[in-house]
Symmetry: C2
């Protein structure tokens, strides 16, 4: 796989996704080779055209910069069916046949933690395999996407005009993870409203930039200009708003430029290492939780757990008492 063999890569990805012992062993061995790729998260509500945007980004990185591109498309909204991820067909049409592009879709399987963990594993494999850019696409705007976004160096939050009335209010949370805001489908009516709403939410999330909003031009300030013009906030990154029409490729070069500026900012400010550390901390915590639960299941017989649940159903034992009884039984 390290020599660039696609079949080995595909096999290893499956093992990592299935969390098999071979997959785990491989991750241990590959870990020293990781840490080079630029991980780009792309998230946003349904209907924003994320998949098509991710395709365009991949095409651009291939054609303009000859970079090796991996796409991990994650759909946490389908926990039961494990069905196909959106946009797969479009993707195949545009990108298939290029040996320097690798696409992998994942639907949730069981626990959310499991999904974030599997994604982290896949990203490590692509990173070790020498892919320069890894695009992590998630559907939706909930906690799951936030968890997955934490894996990325640069997170794009994608919006589109006219997606319902109370969406604006919801964005506050997801905006706080955005490094770059993308208004896709920017040829649609209502794009000014979307932009205005984003600007005001952004102002709430980044109160420091109110100074600039007084001058009425903050969103036009490039991070580079900002750095030179404003001494004291030179290390601050204000998420720019980029407008795209991904179906036509409009705005993609500018978006790629903004992503590059963000990577540059991360490196200069020391945030690249800080994010790396935060990412590894989150991953460690996920793995510890899993290991603890696995050990618990080994120590406590399933039968004992069932007995306790029966007592709970009869209201003879409260959930807290049940935990206490199971945890004590274990340390014996």
């Amino acid at each position: 796989m390290l020599a660039g063999d696609r079949l080995s890569l595909a096999r290893l990805l499956t093992r990592v996704e299935n969390d098999s012992p071979e997959g785990r062993a491989a991750l241990v061995e590959l870990f020293p080779y990781t840490g080079k790729a630029h991980l780009i998260g792309v998230t946003g509500a349904p209907g924003t055209g994320k998949s098509s945007l991710v395709n365009q980004l991949a095409l651009h990185y291939r054609r303009q910069a000859d970079q090796r591109v991996a796409i991990v498309a994650v759909d946490p909204s389908s926990p039961f069916t494990g069905g196909a991820v959106l946009g797969d067909r479009v993707r195949m049409r545009d990108l298939s046949g290029d040996p320097q592009v690798f696409i992998r879709s994942m639907a949730s399987r069981g626990s959310l933690g499991g999904l974030a963990q599997a994604t982290a594993g896949m990203v490590q494999v692509f990173d070790a395999a020498g892919f320069d850019v890894i695009l992590i696409e998630t559907v939706g705007a909930g906690q799951s996407e936030v968890d997955i976004a934490r894996l990325a160096h640069t997170t794009l939050v994608v919006e589109a005009p006219g997606l319902g009335d109370d969406i604006q209010a919801i964005k506050a949370g997801i905006l706080e993870i955005a490094d770059i805001l993308v208004i896709n489908k920017a040829d649609r009516p209502g794009v000014e409203n979307t932009e205005r709403a984003l600007k005001s939410t952004l102002e709430l999330a980044h109160p420091a930039q109110r100074i600039f909003l007084h001058h009425g031009q903050v969103m036009e300030v490039k991070s580079g200009d900002l750095r030179s013009a404003q001494g004291d906030i030179s290390t601050m990154w204000i998420p720019p708003i980029q407008k795209t029409v991904s179906t036509e490729g409009r705005g993609i070069p500018e978006l790629v430029e903004a992503i590059a500026r963000h990577a540059e900012h991360l490196r200069q400010s020391g945030d690249w290492v800080a994010r790396e550390r935060a990412r590894l901390e989150v991953e460690l915590e996920m793995l510890i939780q899993e290991a603890l639960l696995a050990r618990f299941r080994e120590d406590v017989p399933a039968q004992k757990v069932q007995q306790v649940i029966e007592q709970m159903v009869k209201r003879d034992l409260s959930p807290w008492e049940a935990v206490k009884s199971l945890m004590n039984g274990r340390s014996k």
Copy 2:
């Protein structure tokens, strides 16, 4: 609180939400009083008008059946700000002043597991306090909503016409948790498309009902009629599609009727107890995970964890090796 004192109830809810020792002790004591309320989950994408629908349901239960109603509104999409939940103001206008209604909003705080667990605790308090109907409202359509929906006996999935083009494809997962499908804002253009899309997704999720779709009338078949007409699938519940215009109260009595039919179905089929058991199992697992992690944090010094993370950042230690080293350090 058991005597109906609102102030005690409010205080206890805060303690349970904050996961304080007093809150936990109270949950243990209150547990024998739980298991009577009908827990109704209401979930769906932003823009569907869920909050207004929940209000109308609450009003209906108050006015038509004189039932005590609690509303727990959960917003998992705002993990950082912990801001106010949507629709609070509308809610206050319609329902405030009625002592038999209690409304509680929650935004995510830190971990998702924490949110589902806090919601479970709040629901137990309301249940013990003698509320007949507990409406659990969640925003969005991701894994978090699924987890919270698992708390309910009856889950309503709310849709609305014209919420973007690729939403239809996303629904498959969330549909599988739906006991009743609601098309709200049914006076809007595109309602026929939404209904058609729901019917075909439903057909995929419940292949057994294809027989009825051949007769072209499955969605019109009431579960009661189905039970008498079809011997072999008499215990099967096919999610009905209910159309509402919640701003005008249209379709609410029919929706309440469908909810009652579902409760009746759960009781007759034995699913009520089965769901109760599944619910308690999930809750037990959440609490066990938390207890295991708490014990781990007691056993392993934070300094040791930081050392291990530094080694990971330097690529000297893979995440899997880090877990092994920390777990072994612990059992010493």
